[in-house]
């Protein structure tokens, strides 16, 4: 079966998020607890602001799957609901079918670190 990861609403005030880190590549077999992405949610992204209210979140898998396709790159801004990645139960399953549901995952607030795009590349 094919599963999708669409950018979820983490904060009701957000309109999107930045892909700060990508921890997996297409073809990787991922276990429960595998890190997928770090996301940056900037509530002031629409305009420059002093002390921007940016929060960082880690997306971690809660089921074993294969990562099949990534639609984003590090540093990219995504909109709410945007299809970020596709997963499957089998390594070579056809991606022609639509995702049957969203992938099961955990979202946790994290501390800023040196691997994030914001504050290091930006």
């Amino acid at each position: 079966m094919i599963y999708g990861f669409r950018l979820p609403t983490i904060n009701p005030h957000m309109s999107g998020a930045r892909i700060e880190c990508i921890y997996a590549e297409p073809g990787n077999a991922l276990k429960i607890g595998s890190k997928l992405f770090d996301l940056g949610v900037d509530l002031s992204s629409a305009f420059a602001q002093e002390c921007p209210p940016i929060s960082f979140f880690r997306v971690v898998l809660r089921e074993p799957v294969f990562l099949r396709k990534l639609n984003v790159a590090r540093g990219q801004l995504c909109e709410l609901g945007e299809l970020v990645a596709l997963f499957s139960n089998e390594a070579d399953e056809s991606l022609s079918a639509a995702p049957v549901r969203d992938i099961r995952l955990t979202v946790a607030g994290i501390i800023h670190h040196d691997g994030l795009w914001t504050g290091n590349v930006a």
Partner: protein
């Protein structure tokens, strides 16, 4: 309902006459105001009377001097004829301070035991980051390296609080108009609030310790090193490089914890000791900090403030400094050193705003998904461990925890603290109550001085 004149009341400076500008209104004519709500202000200046006073003149560094006005009871405020002068006469000091001068009238209910005719005065002073930052409108206008506001009646000595936090302390102390008006309204007891902004240096404990311990020769070495880098750079420094460098030098040579203050009061000029209490933010403690490779001092510049610098300054940060990781034990140790140094230097009490340690935006079903130590990754776990660290310190030091974690949980974090640091008005009001309560405990000691 009665209508009464509102008079300036006494205000004195030993050896100086006080001059004031015309009145500038912050309300519409006839507007209803709460008791203690600031409704107007004027600029003031000090003119020598001819009697030579020893030492430097008071407020020599503070080019912004203002007095804001509030009535002691709620009522409808009407402007007095001729109180506003208009044009530059509402900016420059043109009238002598006259305690009996009427600047407005109030329609209010009579209140026994309250001198309704006498205005409450909020004194404001600002030390500019640069003399160029002269802005002529509003309360404490311009760019300041330090601002303060104080209030007292005859014979009263204010207790002083110095705010050295980041955003979670800033809004609480200076309020929405950046002029302490909410604190003034919340506290009728004699109080001084001093505010030092978090730019260009954020007030992490290693930075504050450096400021407390730095000798003039060490500052000179810092200035020489910075000048050498900017001069020897293959890139030409931009205006932004020079401005951020200048602001940083200005801050590095000061130690706000050790500042003492001049106060204008109804009884005359008072020179006070350094602040009785210092307000810190636990959120200003980073998990890594920059340390100069050869001179050993620390800088912590918030990411959005680093953007104000040019390429040469940023190259200097990248090459002359090393990143030092800080565990919670390191932060604990730095706090103990700072509190002990403060105690030795000034005896000030520490008030620390803790961290919001829960988030409604997480859906963690199992912590087994995260590597140990989780406080190195998860912000909520790091916040809880840092909050616990404060409790450990408070067992043995004069430290009062200002518990934003509990207040936000009570009022609702999603509604009132959406990003975990920038609070709503109701949370700020609750925090003011907590801070003022922590100062009450210091007032009896003040009377003994």
């Amino acid at each position: 309902m009665i209508e009464l004149p509102l008079r300036l009341g006494p205000l004195c400076a030993d050896g100086y006459n006080i001059s004031r500008s015309g009145i500038r209104w912050l309300i519409q004519p006839g507007q209803y105001c709460r008791a203690n709500q600031i409704f107007a202000y004027c600029n003031i200046s000090l003119e020598p009377t001819g009697i030579r006073m020893s030492g430097p003149p008071p407020f020599a560094e503070e080019m912004e001097l203002q007095v804001a006005f509030a009535a002691r009871a709620a009522g409808r405020i009407l402007g007095g004829a001729g109180a506003e002068r208009g044009g530059y006469l509402s900016i420059r000091s043109v009238d002598v301070w006259d305690a009996g001068a009427v600047i407005a009238y109030i329609e209010a209910e009579a209140e026994p035991d309250v001198d309704l005719e006498r205005l409450r005065l909020l004194m404001l002073a600002g030390r500019r980051m640069t003399g160029l930052a002269d802005v002529h409108t509003g309360l404490l206008p311009g760019w300041h390296g330090r601002t303060r506001g104080w209030w007292c009646d005859e014979g009263e000595m204010p207790v002083s609080l110095l705010s050295l936090g980041i955003c979670d302390a800033t809004g609480v102390v200076i309020g929405e108009q950046c002029a302490f008006v909410e604190m003034f309204e919340a506290a009728t007891a004699p109080t001084q609030m001093v505010f030092v902004p978090d730019h260009p240096l954020a007030p992490a404990t290693p930075v504050l310790l450096d400021q407390l311990e730095r000798k003039p020769a060490q500052f000179q070495a810092i200035a020489t090193d910075m000048h050498r880098f900017l001069s020897d750079s293959t890139l030409a420094p931009t205006a932004d490089d020079w401005m951020v460098s200048g602001a940083l030098l200005s801050v590095l040579q000061r130690s706000p914890i050790q500042d003492s203050y001049s106060l204008l009061t109804p009884s005359g000029t008072v020179r006070t000791e350094p602040a009785d209490a210092v307000l810190l933010s636990l959120s200003s403690e980073p998990q890594s900090i920059l340390r100069h490779k050869s001179l050993g001092y620390h800088v912590q510049i918030l990411r959005h403030h680093q953007a104000a610098a040019g390429p040469v300054f940023r190259a200097w940060l990248g090459s002359a400094f090393e990143t030092v990781k800080r565990s919670i034990d390191d932060i604990h140790s730095d706090y103990l050193r700072l509190l002990d140094a403060m105690q030795a230097a000034t005896g000030a009490r520490a008030l620390v705003i803790n961290r919001m340690s829960t988030s409604g935006y997480e859906d963690i079903s199992s912590y087994s998904l995260f590597d140990a130590p989780m406080s190195g990754t998860l912000s909520s776990i790091a916040a809880k461990e840092l909050n616990l660290m404060l409790h450990d310190i408070a067992e043995h030091r004069d430290l009062v925890i200002i518990d934003v974690d509990a207040i936000a949980a009570d009022l609702g974090g999603a509604e009132h603290l959406p990003d975990g640091i920038h609070q709503s008005g109701p949370i700020q009001a609750a925090l003011r109550v907590e801070i003022l309560h922590a100062l009450e405990d210091l007032r009896p000691k003040m009377q003994l001085k």
